[in-house]
């Protein structure tokens, strides 16, 4: 029985790794072809390159304005995540601690944002009205509007688990509301804050739809939009496209591999919103 069980486990292991090739091979394809010459990469196969063309990365860096788009991505993603997380957790704190009828109504009003899709055409009209189309502020605030509901939802639950006595003690010691929140509550919310940061970071960093709609100036393009534009220009040079893909995916992949624990828990708690 035991031997049979071990045999099946071995079989399952082999099967699962074989299946994982379905995931790994397409990704390997990108890595391999990013080092090929343009003619070699034409076929986009898994053969190793004849010589490793590190110049591809240099070419992409100089012509694809990767550095600029990297900065744009970092600015937009960073600012949006920071704002959404700080503003959202402050709101969730008050909603949870003081459940007046007004606060409860506003909390539910925020939760609508978890389900309803964005009406993009009128959103653009409103941004135009405020002269925020094609601007960093515009797209950042749009992301904040989209993601604050998620932050509020996630942190609301976490605030419950922090004893109220802590607030009272701090108030007695002369803390104001702001200091109470930032000095006492916020540090205790760290796990859920990191979780919601990472979930939002991954979405915004990888997002294509909103930059496409809201940013027309190539100087403000994010990495993902940069790749889209790059393909239009270099569609025949798969080696360069692959090099671009590799460079712009590396930051998220590294964050994923180092923060896996939080990402997974973020996905799960974020998903509970249903």
């Amino acid at each position: 029985m035991n031997r049979q069980k071990r045999f099946f486990q071995g079989l399952a292991l082999v099967g699962l790794w074989a299946l994982s090739l379905l995931i790994l091979l397409p990704l390997l394809l990108v890595v391999i072809n990013s080092f090929k010459s343009s003619a070699e990469a034409d076929a986009m196969n898994l053969l190793l390159p004849k010589s490793f063309m590190v110049e591809n990365f240099k070419t992409v860096l100089t012509t694809g304005s990767v550095f600029r788009s990297l900065m744009n991505s970092a600015l937009i993603t960073g600012a949006a995540v920071l704002l959404s997380v700080i503003l959202g957790s402050m709101a969730a704190f008050v909603f949870n601690r003081r459940r007046s009828s007004l606060n409860r109504t506003v909390y539910n009003y925020f939760l609508l944002g978890l389900v309803i899709p964005v009406q993009i055409i009128t959103l653009i009209e409103i941004l135009k009205y405020f002269h925020m189309m094609n601007s960093y502020q515009g797209i950042i605030l749009v992301y904040v509007a989209i993601f604050t509901p998620l932050t509020i939802f996630l942190t609301y639950g976490a605030v419950s688990s922090i004893p109220r006595e802590l607030d009272e003690a701090a108030i007695v010691d002369g803390c104001g509301a702001l200091r109470l929140f930032f000095k006492i509550l916020f540090p205790l919310l760290t796990p859920v804050i990191i979780t919601s940061c990472i979930t939002q970071f991954m979405f915004i960093w990888n997002d294509f739809q909103y930059p496409l709609y809201l940013l027309s100036d190539t100087k403000k393009w994010t990495l993902v939009l940069g790749i889209y534009g790059f393909i239009g220009q270099y569609s025949s040079d798969w080696n360069l496209v692959c090099a671009h893909i590799l460079m712009s995916s590396l930051p998220v992949v590294i964050i994923y591999l180092s923060g896996q624990k939080y990402i997974i828990s973020g996905m799960v708690s974020g998903a509970v919103k249903g």
């Binding site: 292991l13 699962l16 925020f110 944002g113 899709p117 509007a145 893909i245 591999l257």
Partner: protein, 290 residues
């Protein structure tokens, strides 16, 4: 303790304003404008009743888009959940390297959808793409197919790529669900002489209903909102064969038909809200019965 002073309302006023102006207001305006004749060329908007909606019903871009959106949402939801559940069951055992395998299966979710689309566009290339090179070992007929260029296959290829991308996410949610099931249930079931299948049917499956609820809901809603993967793989073509609601909205906007696009967006919203209500209703009933 003064509640109003300790937990002041100004803590939520800023996000409230941003959310209201950039999320709720576009929603309301979108609804109102969908009943007008608003285009990019008209400076005034006048009431047009249900005209935009009736026009949509006769518009092939919308009709194809709606059909493809529903097909995409349904098929990807089924397969992502079936495969995700199977993987979660397989990886919830004491297998060696199970953590590494989980990491690998989730990896596609970390990449930008646009990038995933570009990678598969190259794999599906008719002459030199990886898929046809692979097929050429078996059949020349199969290997000469232009997968994304043929209207009969293109939408199915888009669906296939989304299943590739999203299965890992479902797996992770299922894994989380499996891990909270107490081992005691299985132990007492084994003592009572229940076999593996009976244990699966009477313990695992009922305990997984909440995870199933989350996964189905998210898969369908995100499926209804699909945009990036279509743009990256086919741009909606060939012809209209892979258009979905969101790409349709993008095209109406590009053509200046703002109110028509807005009406299509409202239709999308109605579908999402209806699906949310129905699925939540079904699952809350299931959970009560449990």
């Amino acid at each position: 303790m003064n509640m109003k002073k300790t937990y002041p309302n100004y803590f939520w006023i800023v996000p409230f304003a941003i959310y209201t102006i950039l999320f709720i207001l576009p929603g309301l305006l979108g609804l109102i404008y969908s009943f007008t004749n608003w285009t990019i060329y008209s400076s005034t908007k006048s009431f047009a009743g249900l005209e935009n909606y009736t026009n949509l019903l006769n518009d092939s871009l919308f009709k194809t888009g709606l059909k493809n959106t529903l097909l995409f949402a349904l098929i990807t939801t089924v397969f992502k959940n079936v495969f995700g559940f199977a993987l979660a069951l397989a990886l919830n055992t004491k297998l060696k390297t199970k953590n590494l395998l989980r990491t690998v299966y989730f990896l596609p979710m970390v990449l930008s959808t646009l990038i995933v689309g570009i990678i598969f566009k190259s794999i599906f290339m008719p002459d030199t793409g990886l898929l046809n090179v692979f097929f050429s070992f078996f059949s020349t007929n199969l290997s000469s197919t232009d997968w994304l260029g043929n209207p009969a296959y293109a939408m199915w290829m888009v669906i296939l790529v989304e299943i590739w991308r999203g299965t890992g996410y479902c797996m992770v949610i299922f894994l989380a669900g499996l891990q909270v099931i107490s081992k005691d249930y299985y132990e007492s079931a084994t003592i009572d002489g229940a076999n593996n299948w009976q244990q699966f049917k009477s313990i695992t499956l009922p305990m997984m209903i909440p995870s199933l609820n989350v996964n189905i809901l998210l898969s369908i809603i995100n499926g209804l909102k699909v945009f990036d993967i279509v743009i990256a793989l086919t741009g909606g073509g060939p012809g209209l064969s892979t258009e979905v609601l969101s790409t349709g909205i993008y095209k109406y906007m590009g053509n200046g038909a703002l109110a028509t696009g807005g009406a299509a967006n409202i239709v999308l919203t109605l579908f999402v809200v209806a699906v949310f209500a129905v699925i939540n209703g079904v699952f809350s009933k299931l959970e009560v019965e449990r």
